[in-house]
Symmetry: C2
Subunit: 358 residues, 2 copies
């Protein structure tokens, strides 16, 4: 299911991940199509940036329009008009960060829909059911996430760590039950989630547990949630020598060109984040050498150059100038966010492609 095609540095690798909707070359950056669509972009524009996998958020789609509606509409791919591979997250991150009155028990998580106030409940089993109804090609086990800020005690980290592994077994059992009738080539891939906060021993133990479980891929959770880049790097470096070679490794929620490089050089194959498109909609783009550009700056008002000279994205290759983009952002035209998003996604995809061509 995962084949290494080359290696670089101490731990980096390029590879091919086989999904039921085709082969993905890695490393690969996955934009967040939160509610089934990458914000401001048509599916064709997404594909044109070189993106190979689109992530959709289980939490958002569960609340609206609901996984049963999407299943009835033919599943996520038919719904969102995407032919290529899709991945859904477990819903855990949003339940913990967006749900109101969240109450965690061993059984699962009770919370209220922040929009309607309706009571909701997601358990490991329910997360599997939702994700299989949505119909993504890769799905993620439901984990217990705790923030990495200093209000979280070691005890809480350890509790979340242990619960994550107990929940993983329940996810696997439910996943097997739900996919019992599927052939190997029909079955989506299940990723287990490594937790353990910034405690390197817990992280290593967690990786060991996940790798020895019946999962298709390893997801690294609980990073990019408030820790420093150095702290994140330390965790990734601690895990890098310990990965099995035959499973893809997915770093959840990471996001900038700098972090992508650190991750990939420490053996990560897949990354997702809202940042490239969210930044873009707020006029912030990456240019040559990861320089961060704020397109609304006065200095660009007469600048005829594209965001990144030499870039092959639709916006740069067609010569949309910084001055044009600045004007469109200033007057609130949605096209500006579309063009900037196209550029940022192409930027992230190209960073990934550069490893493959080395």
């Amino acid at each position: 299911m995962f084949k290494t095609t080359s290696t670089f540095g101490d731990f980096g690798r390029t590879g091919e991940l086989t999904t039921r909707r085709g082969v993905v070359t890695t490393p690969t950056f996955m934009p967040d199509g939160t509610r089934g669509a990458v914000k401001s972009l048509t599916p064709q524009q997404v594909v044109d940036t070189g993106v190979q996998i689109v992530l959709a958020n289980t939490y958002h789609l569960h609340l609206q329009p609901g996984e049963k509606a999407i299943k009835q509409l033919g599943g996520l791919h038919a719904f969102a008009n995407r032919q290529g591979p899709m991945l859904t997250d477990s819903g855990g991150f949003q339940v913990f960060s967006l749900g109101k009155h969240t109450k965690i028990s061993e059984e699962g998580v009770h919370f209220k829909d922040p929009k309607t106030g309706d009571k909701r409940f997601i358990s490991p089993e329910i997360s599997m059911q939702i994700q299989l109804d949505l119909g993504a090609d890769m799905i993620v086990a439901f984990d217990h996430l705790v923030g990495l800020d200093h209000t979280v005690s070691d005890k809480e980290v350890k509790e979340a760590f242990d619960r994550t592994h107990r929940w993983l077994e329940r996810c696997i059992a439910e996943f097997k039950r739900l996919t019992a009738d599927m052939s190997d080539s029909e079955r989506p891939l299940l990723f287990g989630v490594v937790q353990g906060g910034l405690d390197l021993d817990l992280r290593k133990q967690s990786l060991e547990i996940i790798q020895n479980s019946d999962v298709d891929g390893i997801a690294i959770g609980g990073l990019s949630v408030g820790e420093t880049r150095e702290e994140m790097t330390t965790v990734l470096q601690a895990l890098a020598p310990l990965y099995r070679k035959d499973k893809p490794r997915f770093l959840l929620g990471v996001g900038t060109p700098e972090d992508l490089k650190i991750a990939v050089e420490n053996g990560i194959d897949m990354l997702d984040c809202v940042l490239p498109t969210r930044n873009a909609r707020h006029a912030t783009v990456w240019s040559t050498n990861d320089a961060k550009i704020h397109l609304t700056n006065e200095q660009y008002s007469l600048d005829t150059s594209p965001i990144e000279p030499g870039c092959d994205c639709y916006a740069c290759a067609n010569g949309f100038s910084k001055a044009f983009l600045r004007h469109q952002f200033k007057v609130g035209e949605p096209l500006a966010g579309t063009l900037a998003s196209i550029h940022n996604l192409r930027y992230m995809s190209r960073l990934c492609e550069q490893y493959c061509s080395k």
Copy 2:
């Protein structure tokens, strides 16, 4: 400059309009790229709908970023990254409808920028200067518009009528001065504007005056500003037998499929309106036989059919369902407005194309 290629009914015609950026087949619907860009669409997406001419608003671009900035950036086409023909309006309509503290004198119109409060002044000469700085391929004479509601007296209509013709002479003189160094193939086309409210005698006189002036095209102004469809039809029918054959006829600010047909069957070659894209961004689209569909309606929540079965636009041809569009509108995703805009523009373009293939 205008060649009739076929005729239909009593007054309808198809034709070819030669501009300095290529030949346009008519009838043709022109979307409003208000601030240089059709809202939510890339220039390529606009071209893909069959749109041949994009209109940009002199008033908006004059206020921000200013015609001098656009000229310095290489003109409207380089700025907005459009290769095909563009048309700018005179700024008159927005000055009268959006400007604050508007004061009209024989010299021109004083008003305040509604955003900054800055004092502004546009005269016939200044409108020509702005439009030539912007660099559109077709430009429109600065006219005095009065609303058609019942608070406008016959005297006011007549005053606006007379002033429009005096201003036209000033526009023509300034246009000639500014384009004196241009060859025939370099010079943009100037449209004079027919006014006269709902008074058919004034309308006919105005057309006579405009047609006998040194203009390249005839624009019909002051319609679609509050009158009924019957009133508009009466004016268009009164003018239909009187047009010269060698000049293109442009109906300003008209807009729905029904109105487009009435106009085209009464000899109109070009139409512009914000309606198709504005409606689309508010989830209202046209389907088979001009049926108006509100995509946010509950009834579409599980509807897997496209907006218009058989439509060849990107949204319909790729099978984006009403259910998907409804969901994306409900959760405020900008892609919904993009897809609906693509459909509505394709709908209007196809109505025009059907006359050509008859």
